[in-house]
């Protein structure tokens, strides 16, 4: 039997069949020029700073963690074995490209790096209603208050 995370055909079948919420419309905002845009990363890799409690096991922890721009003492709070965990062990940027954003800001490619970035747990309820109605809007509100223009979303 193939190992799930390494089986691209199995992953494709899973992606085609997993229950997803329906969105009748798609909001679509056009940002300022990239060279003027302040960018934040939001990841569902369940990252948290060392010493924080992190995330609960299961699919009902819908809170988010705040990752200050300068924090690099980040832990992967995701116990699933069905994704490649070694990449993050070697380099946090493969999931959370904060150092690459800093380089782009220094080069003037992007307008700036947000003061805070955010992490959620990827495992959520099938309806994802909690992050749709509660923590997701709260996170958006935080980012708007911090002057964020563009959000880069990554997962594991």
């Amino acid at each position: 039997m193939s190992v799930f995370g390494k089986d691209e055909a199995a992953i494709g079948k899973f992606a085609a069949s997993v229950p997803v919420p329906e969105f009748e419309t798609t909001s679509f905002n056009t940002p300022n020029a990239l060279s003027e845009a302040r960018i934040a990363i939001v990841t569902t890799a369940a990252l948290h700073q060392e010493g924080r409690a992190g995330f609960e096991l299961g699919d009902d922890d819908y809170h988010f963690e705040t990752l200050p721009r300068d924090a690099r003492d980040l832990a992967l709070g995701h116990h699933s074995v069905n994704f490649d965990r070694g990449g993050f062990a070697a380099d946090i940027n493969v999931v959370y490209p904060i150092d690459r954003l800093e380089e782009l800001a220094k080069q003037g490619v992007i307008g700036g790096v947000a003061d805070n970035h955010y992490a959620f747990a990827g495992n959520q309820s099938d309806t994802v209603s909690e992050i749709r109605l509660d923590s997701g809007p709260q996170c958006a509100s935080n980012m708007l208050a911090e002057g964020v223009d563009v959000v880069l979303l990554t997962g594991t």
Binding site: D84, I92, V94, L104, Q124, V128, R132, T156
Partner: protein, 233 residues
């Protein structure tokens, strides 16, 4: 399930007035959810930027992602041109210590002997993902509990708290993978640390053996299945 959560958050953020770009390895999920902007990255799950420690490659991915911001309307999905398959990399070459204390189980002995390497990795990087259930110093003791399962003790009597077996193995794997990434030479290929851990280390072999013992003894699948990727025996 990360891709679904990521795409949901993109909708939520865009509704609030932010512009979003999603990196996802699961195009079908992004399409079905009509996500505003997505870059389909044909990389192994867990590697959003494709290649750890390859700054140039990571910048190529970010450049392709940010190009989506120029699109006049959405939903829009583009595909990053480079495909990275699960075996597109060299195996991890990481030396394991010789036996030091033959009175200990080989996995426990191995974990103790690797502590200095783990400490060096932590000193260098100032970060660790250990701590979901145990700390680094407790890894040998945790492995000793898996030895007892293999030796026939019931899993719920060896001292691993109920419902915390997966998080204990998370910590054990992080201990090994973090030190291996420092000891190994060259790039860390896709799934390289997973293969090294389960195929070569005493700890990985012990956990697989404990998993088989629990399965064969009729322990509920939810207790042991996630101790290794689905499909591993």
């Amino acid at each position: 399930m990360c891709p679904r959560t990521v795409c949901t958050l993109a909708h939520v953020f865009e509704s609030a007035g932010l512009a979003t770009v999603v990196l996802t390895p699961m195009r079908e999920v992004a399409e079905r959810m009509k996500v505003p902007r997505a870059l389909h990255t044909r990389f192994p799950v867990g590697l959003s930027l494709g290649k750890p420690r390859d700054h140039d490659f990571q910048h190529e991915v970010l450049s392709a992602a940010f190009d989506l911001l120029k699109e006049p309307e959405g939903p829009v999905i583009t595909e990053f041109p480079v495909h990275i398959g699960p075996t597109d990399g060299e195996p991890l070459v990481c030396p394991l210590p010789p036996r030091l204390n033959r009175e200990l189980h080989p996995a426990v002995d191995e974990a103790q002997a690797l502590k200095a390497a783990y400490d060096r990795a932590y000193q260098k990087n100032q970060r660790t993902s250990i701590g979901m259930q145990i700390n680094a110093a407790e890894v040998p003791e945790a492995l000793a509990k898996f030895v007892r399962i293999v030796d026939g003790e019931a899993w719920d009597t060896v001292g691993i708290p109920d419902g915390r077996m997966y998080s204990t193995v998370h910590d054990i794997r992080c201990y090994y993978e973090e030190l291996a990434c420092e000891l190994a030479e060259g790039p860390i290929g896709p799934w390289a640390t997973e293969a090294w851990f389960y195929d070569q280390t005493g700890a990985g072999k012990l956990i697989l053996e404990a998993r088989r013992v629990m399965r064969d003894n009729g322990v509920d699948q939810s207790t042991w299945f996630g101790l290794a990727p689905a499909g591993r025996e």
